[in-house]
């Protein structure tokens, strides 16, 4: 189960950001999981519980954003969705396609808990809250 190794990398990244931002904890984090990334979302969720124990990410809510596969055909130029078992161009049936989405696996959002004694950093590109 390589999801555990990936979760450890995820938590290292999360802890680095949390420390940089002087956060006291992590409320939630969002991970974009492409259908072709080779990662099983339910296993990633389970591995996260194990890997986050005793880290700044412990207790954080893991939100998984699955993304479908999209391809563009090098022959006819058509763009569209594909499935991981069938990556051919849906329009002309050709095999010269480029995958434009669906193989990503990245941390896309993180919601941090602020320690009440630490002032907010001005450089943070806050998007809400």
């Amino acid at each position: 189960m390589h999801e555990l190794a990936l979760c450890q990398a995820l938590i290292e990244a999360v802890e680095k950001i949390a420390r940089r931002e002087h956060a006291s904890g992590v409320v939630s984090l969002t991970v974009t999981v492409g259908a072709l990334s080779g990662v099983e979302p339910s296993l990633l969720a389970r591995a996260f519980e194990i890997a986050s124990a005793s880290t700044l990410a412990q207790g954080a809510r893991l939100l998984l954003e699955p993304t479908p596969v999209r391809v563009v055909c090098e022959d006819c130029g058509a763009q569209g969705e594909a499935t991981i078992q069938r990556l051919l161009c849906a329009s002309c049936g050709g095999g010269r396609v480029r995958v434009t989405a669906g193989d990503e696996l990245h941390l896309s959002r993180i919601e941090l808990e602020r320690a009440s004694t630490v002032p907010q950093c001005d450089a943070v590109p806050a998007t809400g809250e």
């Binding site: 189960m1 390589h2 190794a5 990936l6 990398a9 995820l10 290292e12 990244a13 950001i17 931002e21 956060a23 006291s24 904890g25 409320v27 939630s28 969002t30 991970v31 072709l36 990334s37 080779g38 990662v39 979302p41 339910s42 969720a45 389970r46 207790g59 954080a60 809510r61 893991l62 939100l63 998984l64 699955p66 391809v71 991981i84 078992q85 069938r86 990556l87 051919l88 161009c89 095999g95 010269r96 396609v97 696996l105 990245h106 941390l107 896309s108 959002r109 993180i110 919601e111 941090l112 808990e113 602020r114 009440s116 907010q120 943070v124 590109p125 806050a126 998007t127 809400g128 809250e129």
Partner: protein, 257 residues
């Protein structure tokens, strides 16, 4: 139960999680948009490995397959066929034992065994450590035999130049459809143990190729048998061609420097 994150809410109510906050009473939350690949650290190490290979003009080939599809046997017969023309070294990945490295060393080729314990794949850092034990100045072609597994190794770049996946004819010919992530990343697919096709009528090489093509993969599919040296010709030619291309790039870089 929600099948996205395993919480107790329904899928439709999932969006309401976001920003709801689970912090303690009175805490101030901040949401940051980031873009950090979960594989970023591994990819950096892999790029570092590749720089080492490129600096020495070494072709690095990552061999992947299910357990028991004949990776080590193929390497043994490849060494017999090519070992006089190219200097070969092997990194062996296994959960346990030095057995495979011993088999390779018996052929007079340097081999470093990585025992991963419970890890189901090699990663770039493990390969980097193994490289400390190999004199790349004395190597033309480095094989990295990954842990036998058609799932996990697909996600981890090791710094290799080419991925080769073995599919033995004792397996199902629909493996490319079942393991699309791995087969899609392959630069060459070898149908191994092909001598058994004479007695196994339930593996159809054409069907295996068709499944691969459905993944929009145009890569060559070759039949090989470690027991029949003549069957290795296409594989050996492919390796020599890849090596010559790598070497030409290396010479050009050396001249530019």
């Amino acid at each position: 139960m929600c099948d996205i994150c395993g919480c107790s809410e329904s899928k439709s109510g999932h969006a309401s999680h976001e920003g709801a906050g689970h912090g303690s009473e009175g805490s101030r939350g901040t949401t940051l948009a980031v873009h950090e690949s979960l594989l970023a650290a591994n990819d950096r190490e892999a790029a570092h490995n590749r720089e080492h290979f490129d600096a020495h003009g070494v072709l690095a080939v990552n061999l992947m397959s299910s357990p028991g599809s004949g990776k080590t046997s193929l390497l043994e017969s490849t060494i017999d066929a090519l070992g006089r023309r190219l200097r070969i070294a092997v990194i062996e990945g296994d959960l346990e034992t030095e057995n495979d490295a011993r088999r390779i060393r018996a052929k007079g080729v340097p081999a470093v065994q990585i025992t991963t314990g419970s890890a189901c794949h090699l990663d770039a850092r493990m390969v980097h450590h193994a490289l400390h034990e190999i004199d790349l100045d004395a190597v033309d072609l480095l094989f990295i035999e990954n842990v036998g597994n058609l799932v996990c190794p697909a996600s981890f770049d090791l710094g290799q130049h080419r991925n080769v996946t073995l599919l033995s004819v004792t397996e199902g010919d629909d493996k490319p459809a079942k393991y699309p992530v791995m087969f899609r990343k392959s630069d060459l697919v070898l149908l191994s143990k092909s001598d058994l096709l004479d007695v196994l009528d339930d593996f159809d090489p054409e069907a295996a190729t068709r499944h691969l093509r459905t993944l929009a993969s145009q890569v060559p599919v070759l039949r090989v048998s470690a027991r029949r040296p003549a069957s290795l010709r296409g594989w050996i030619d492919w390796l020599e061609q890849e090596y010559q291309q790598r070497r030409a790039l290396w010479r050009r870089t050396a001249v530019a420097l």
